[in-house]
């Protein structure tokens, strides 16, 4: 075989039929890796003491610094939903049910999923990039060498912070969405704040808000887990850091949407209409 032939063999891309197989293998390897990472998380959970100082620092980075983004999204969700649904509700003579309809839609589905997907982009990518650059600059190796247990210090703390921050941010987004909805109702129909609150309180049940908030704990776990996994296993220097950030955002968003289907099914089984 001539050297030219050898080079062309090296440069030839994978045959088309092999590409889906490679993707499947990559996907399965990712799921396997996430499973191993999850098991290690629960093992670490059973092994105190914890790095509380670092958890609080991460809560500030992940939670507090996402507050403005979450607030804007919350207000806009409530206001837009109210504006969009008003004409149809009026057509069916159900204008009085707008606050209740908005509250249920926001608390059950819109707020938990939208906020989680947005945070998968902001927080997931941030964690992926941060840990990826720590891997590239050998900081994770330095922790290992110093017996600092990088999993406990870097991964565990970030996942826990995500699991605490997501439900809190979702509650804030829920309340602000209702605020946004009330502002539109006030402008369009002159509804008082007390009437709005009364309508929401009368219409919303325990099963409307609790499952919505509870599932964000799992979404937070997913964002933290995927972000940390991608960053921790980053390869290829600076290019790898970018890839880790992108993969963390895409994978965690996708998993959140898939997990949501499961959670809706479980919620409907536990609290049937």
């Amino acid at each position: 075989m001539s050297s030219d032939n050898k080079n062309s063999e090296v440069l030839t891309p994978l045959p088309d039929e092999a590409a889906p197989v490679a993707r499947w293998e990559g996907g399965l390897a990712l799921l396997g890796g996430l499973w191993v990472f999850s098991v290690r998380f629960f093992k670490t959970l059973a092994r105190p003491p914890y790095e509380f100082k670092e958890i609080i620092r991460q809560l500030n980075m992940i939670g507090y610094r996402s507050l403005s983004l979450v607030s804007v999204v919350g207000i806009v969700i409530g206001a837009v939903l109210t504006m969009q649904s008003r004409p149809t509700m009026i057509k069916f003579g159900a204008e009085a049910f707008i606050p209740e309809m908005v509250a249920i839609s926001v608390m059950r589905e819109l707020s938990p999923v939208l906020i989680s997907v947005i945070l998968a982009g902001r927080v997931g990518a941030g964690i992926g990039a941060e840990l990826g650059s720590m891997r590239a600059s050998e900081q994770i190796d330095a922790m290992d060498v110093a017996a600092l247990d990088p999993f406990k210090y870097l991964v565990f703390t970030r996942i826990v912070a995500c699991m605490i921050a997501l439900p809190l941010l979702t509650i804030i987004a829920d309340l602000l969405a209702l605020g946004g909805s009330w502002v539109v109702e006030k402008i369009e129909a002159g509804m008082t704040v007390s009437l709005f609150i009364q309508t929401v309180v009368n219409g919303v049940e325990f099963s409307d808000y609790l499952p919505g908030i509870a599932k964000t704990i799992f979404f937070g776990f997913t964002i933290g887990l995927v972000g940390c996994y991608e960053g921790y296993h980053s390869k290829g220097g600076t290019e790898g850091v970018g890839r880790s950030a992108t993969d963390a955002a895409v994978t965690s968003s996708l998993l959140i949407i898939l997990l949501d289907v499961l959670f809706v099914k479980v919620t409907l089984m536990l609290w049937p209409y």
Partner: protein, 300 residues
């Protein structure tokens, strides 16, 4: 498989009381990186590992601390087999080993002082006051007291190396591993780091393994060296015996290092002349100034 010029024979058995014993180590990634490498490091001794980039020098350091697992061979640290230790066993021995990474690997989110404190909190039960004193002493040793509250991003390359060094010695290790301690630094800073390694070794009596491709650094910090080429240890012995080796690669390596050193010296001399001419234009002769320009053009 034995390299034709490999003259160190570990089948004769390691010397007694070696702090680190490396026996017939081999590891392969895409291609063989280390092949049948053996080495002893004794207490208080500094050994340099020389070789071209990509010959497995840094891999050797990572194998010693258990960041990588060899395909075959054994590593002993204080008579404990590192290659057979689990997660907790490795944590135990790592508290006696300091590691200066090539880029210093300081934690970005912490100040220099916090970087040092994190190591002390993990490895000692000292109260905050005593930790502060130890941090101050370690920083003083590397002449970096003023950087205690600085973030790593505010430090120059040389300062980062010194801060990394302070972080490694603050826990008083028995063995220091240096991964290219002078790479990427200007010759003056590189020389000061090399001198610092010698000072630390003399003051603290720490055994050291210095991975470098810079021959002057090796000559400054160590008496004994091992040269790696294509995964083989082609030389192990006193540095002064390097010239006596018959290995073709070693001759080429020594010649290239000498040229590199001479080139550095010529550039330094040219810069000094140019600086002198700038500071005292009247005193500087026309010929010298022209000579400096020519030197810099030719050399760069």
């Amino acid at each position: 498989m034995i390299h034709p010029f490999q003259h160190h024979n570990h089948d004769q058995g390691p010397k007694p009381n070696a702090l680190v014993r490396i026996e017939h180590l081999a590891i392969t990634f895409d291609k063989p990186v280390l092949r049948d490498v053996s080495l002893d490091i004794h207490k208080g001794e500094t050994v340099a590992v020389l070789g071209k980039s990509g010959t497995g020098k840094s891999v050797l350091l990572k194998l010693i601390v258990g960041l990588l697992t060899p395909d075959s061979g054994k590593i002993f640290f204080k008579d404990k087999e590192v290659t057979a230790l689990g997660e907790f066993g490795l944590m135990d021995i790592r508290s006696d080993i300091g590691f200066l990474f090539q880029g210093a690997a300081l934690f970005d989110s912490m100040t220099v002082g916090q970087n040092l404190d994190l190591f002390l909190v993990k490895h000692t039960d000292l109260p905050p006051k005593e930790r502060e004193q130890k941090i101050a002493a370690a920083l003083e040793m590397v002449q970096l007291q003023e950087a205690i509250d600085k973030m790593p991003s505010e430090l120059s390359g040389g300062m980062k190396k010194r801060a990394g060094l302070a972080r490694s010695i603050v826990i008083e290790p028995e063995l220091m591993l240096y991964d290219e301690p002078t790479t990427g630094l200007d010759p003056v800073t590189a020389s000061s780091i090399a001198e610092l390694i010698v000072t630390l070794q003399q003051q603290l009596g720490i055994a050291s393994l210095v991975v470098t491709h810079d021959l002057p650094t090796a000559f400054t910090v160590s008496d004994r060296a091992m040269v790696l080429n294509e995964g083989y240890a082609i030389f192990e012995g006193e540095l002064k015996d390097l010239e006596k080796s018959e290995d073709a690669f070693l001759h080429e390596y020594l010649a290239a290092s000498r040229l590199d050193r001479e080139r550095h010296d010529r550039i330094l001399r040219a810069r000094e002349r140019a600086l002198a001419a700038t500071q005292n234009p009247k005193a500087a002769t026309k010929g010298t100034a022209r000579g400096s320009e020519t030197d810099v053009k030719v050399l760069t």
